[in-house]
Amino acid sequence: MDKLLDLWVASGIYNISPGQALMMAIGLVLLFLAIRKNFEPLLLVPIGFGGILANIPEAGLAFSAVENAIHFAKPEVLAGLASALGVDSADPHAVLDAYKTASHSAHTAATDVALDSGYNNGMLYNFYSVAIASGAAPLIIFMGVGAMTDFGPLLANPKTLFLGAAAQFGIFATVLGAVALSMTGVMDFSIQDAAAIGIIGGADGPTAIYVASLLAPHLLGAIAVAAYSYMALVPMIQPPIMRALTTESERKIKMHQLRHVSKTEKILFPILLLILVALLLPDAAPLLGMFCFGNLMRECGVVDRLSDTAQNALINIVTIFLGLSVGSKLSADKFLDLETLGILVLGVIAFGIGTACGVLMAKLMNKMQGGDAINPLIGSAGVSAVPMAARVSNKIGLEANPQNFLLMHAMGPNVAGVIGSAVAAGVMIKFVG
C-alpha cells in the first residue's frame, strides 16, 4: 500500500497549487484564442501548450536540475547544494535565492551536485536553454522572416521608412510609462525591464523575445504573450485610432501606383542595410544581420533551396521549440504577478501610441510636401505586425473608397516597421544591456 500512497502523494491532484491551476487555465485560454479566434496560432498554440506543460505539478519540466533538487528538498542534497553555492543555510528558499544569483562557476558546481543526486533538467528547460538562452531561435526566425519579406513596395517609395520610424515612438513612450509606474511605486520595474516591455510596441515577436531574453528574462513569458496577443488584436486596436486621427477625405486619398523595382535593387537593399547597421549600430547586428541574410537569400536567386528551407522546414522547427520555450516561462510565480498586468496594459498603450504616431507622421509628411502624396491610413502599418497591419490599412481605406487598394502601399511602412523596431532594439541593448 506504500506504493499506492506514493503514487497519490506524487500525483498532480495532491500537489497542484492554485497558481498552477490558474496558469493551466490561462494556457487553455491561449489555446482557445489561438485555435478558435485565430490569434497568431503559429506561436500561441506552442506557447499555450508549453504553459500548461510548465505548470504540471511535480513534473518540473521547466525547472533546471538544481531547481528540481531544491523542490524535492532532500536534506543531504540541499546541504550539498548549499556548500556548492556557498551559503550557510540549507533552507530551500535560501539555496534557491543563492542559485539564482550565483556566479557561473558556482552554478556549474551546484548543477554537478544536482545531477549526481539523480535530478535532471526538465525537458522545457533544455529547450529554453538551446533555443532562447543561446539567442539562436529568435535570430533564426528573423532570418526566415527576412526570407519571406518583399522589400519591393518599400524600395518603390523609400519615404515610407519615416512612417516605420515614427511608429516606434510607441516603444519609447512605453518605456517612459513603465518608468512612471515604477516611480509612483505602483510596480517595480528596472530600466532593463522597462526597455524590454517597451519593445512590445515594436509588434515583432522575434525582436521582442530576443530583447526580453537579454534584458529581462524573468518577464519573457508575459512579454511574448502580450506581443503576440496584441499582434492578433491589431484589427481591433488600430481602426478606432486610425479613424479618430484622420478625416474622411484623407482616408480617400489615392496613392500613385508603385514603380517597378528591379532585381538588382532588391539584391542590393539588404546589403546596404547591413552596411549601415555595421557602421552605425553594431548592437543591432545580430537581429538585422540575420534578417538581411534571409532577405538576400530570397532575392539573389541563386540559393533558392536555402531560401526555401529558411522559409519552411527551418523556421517551422524553430517556431515549435521557441513557442514551447516561451511557454516554459509561464510559471505561476513569474506570471501571476501585478507586473504582468502592468505589462499587458503598457503593451496595448504601446500599440496605440505607435499606431497614432504612424498616422500623424503621414499627415505631417503630406503637410511638409504640400501635397496629398500619402494616405495617412498606411501610417498605422508602421508598427509592423506584418502583414496584419497593412491589411487593416487596406480595409479601412476600402471603407472610405471601395476602389482604393492600399495594401501594397501599406507594405512599405509595414516592413519599415520591422527595421525600425530592430534598430530601436539595438539602441536599447546598447544603452541598458
Binding site: 520610424a165 518608468v179 515604477s182 530600466i191 517597378h260 528591379s262 535593387e265 519599415a416 544603452f431
Partner: protein, 83 residues
C-alpha cells in the same frame, strides 16, 4: 528614482533620435542606390516585360495553354506524384 526617470527620458530622446537618423540615412542611401542602379544597370526592358508577364498571364493560363504546356505540366505533376 530620479535616476530612473532621467534614464528613461534619455533612452526615449536618443532612441527615437537614433531611429530617425538611421532610417533617414537609409532613405537617402536607398534613393542613391536605386538611382545608380537604374542609371548604370537598368533592368533590361524586354526581360522585365517577360518577367512581369507570367503574373499577368497566370489567370488566363488555362485559356492560352497550348498542348505543349499541358504535356509539361502533366509530366511534372506525374513526376512529383510518383517521386
Amino acid at each position: 528614482m530620479d535616476n530612473l526617470l532621467s534614464e528613461g527620458l534619455e533612452l526615449m530622446v536618443f532612441g527615437m533620435g537614433f531611429v530617425f537618423v538611421f532610417l533617414t540615412l537609409l532613405v537617402i542611401s536607398t534613393g542613391v542606390m536605386s538611382k545608380l542602379v537604374n542609371k548604370y544597370a537598368p533592368a533590361p526592358v524586354a526581360k522585365a516585360a517577360t518577367a512581369r508577364k507570367p503574373a499577368a498571364a497566370a489567370p488566363s493560363a488555362g485559356a492560352s495553354a497550348n498542348n505543349d504546356e499541358l504535356v509539361a505540366v502533366m509530366t511534372a505533376a506525374i513526376k512529383k506524384y510518383r517521386s
